[in-house]
């Protein structure tokens, strides 16, 4: 009953939720929550495929690296957000438009 499609469906839902968060929100931290959701959906896909399709651990390793990258991204991203807030006193994404000129 529980097959690959179940996991793909959950990961699809997570991905869609993450995309929706990233588009609908104007708060940088809220957008980073969306990025976490998207990265997790990808990691879940890798683990599910490695269980149901080829039965080795390569998928688990990919998920591990994705978790590592997510942690690094969260650390650097939040540091940038805090620095940005110290300079501009805002975390609105539309305020970070200096490079658009």
């Amino acid at each position: 009953m529980i097959s690959l499609s179940s996991y793909l469906f959950i990961s699809f839902t997570l991905f869609i939720a993450g995309i929706a968060v990233m588009i609908a929100r104007k708060n940088i931290i809220a957008m980073m929550l969306g990025i976490e959701l998207i990265l997790n959906s990808a990691a879940l896909n890798f683990a599910a495929y490695s269980r149901f399709v080829n039965n080795n651990l390569e998928g688990h390793l990919m998920s591990l690296f994705i978790i590592v990258i997510a942690a690094a991204e969260a650390a650097v991203g939040l540091a940038i957000v805090i620095r940005f807030f110290q300079i501009k006193e805002t975390i609105h994404i539309d305020d970070a438009a200096q490079l658009q000129s």
Partner: protein, 175 residues
């Protein structure tokens, strides 16, 4: 039967958490709901026998990322007046009707595309005779230092860079 129960519980937690992140009006609540969603994903990892992955998910997200997010919310949260010189709110709301409409349309388009792509995979693989669960810790350790040693080293350098970079960026400068 218990695996099915665990699967449904974790799936419900994951999806409800993700939906909560989308629709919550409060950033702090969104962070806590994200924590629930990540715990659900750890449960899903457990149902496919990825025990090491489930534990790493718990350690890294519950212990690290979510607390970091909460700190960032708190450090950027409090200020006296709530709009900047452009008339935009300093602490933006969690999205307006306009952004939600745009996001809804984008999600529709993206989901159709992805479903179109995934349809092939969904049909072709069935849950056949799956092998029993075994401990993945030793095998993952062996793979990390044999086949994937380059990726392992690169990710450690990435983490070091992230550590130093985050410390340098977030430090308040004098003057």
């Amino acid at each position: 039967m218990f695996e099915n129960t665990l699967f449904f519980l974790s799936a419900t937690l994951t999806i409800v958490g993700a939906a909560g992140v989308v629709f919550s009006k409060n950033l702090m609540h969104a962070c806590v709901l994200l924590l629930g969603s990540l715990f659900g994903i750890a449960g899903l990892y457990a149902t496919i026998g990825a025990d090491f992955l489930a534990a790493s998910q718990l350690v890294i997200y519950a212990g690290g990322v979510v607390i970091l997010m909460l700190f960032a919310v708190m450090l950027t949260g409090g200020s006296a007046d709530s709009s900047n010189k452009f008339g935009i709110e300093k602490i933006p709301g969690m999205g307006s009707t306009k952004t939600y409409v745009i996001a809804g349309f984008s999600v529709l388009v993206i989901s159709f595309t992805i479903l179109k792509l995934m349809a092939n995979f969904m049909k072709s693989y069935k849950a056949g005779e799956l092998p029993a669960f075994s401990s993945t810790v030793e095998e993952i350790g062996t793979l990390l230092v044999t086949d994937h040693v380059l990726a392992f080293e690169i990710s450690s350098i990435l983490l070091l860079g992230a550590l130093v970079g985050a410390a340098v960026i977030a430090r308040p400068r004098k003057g």
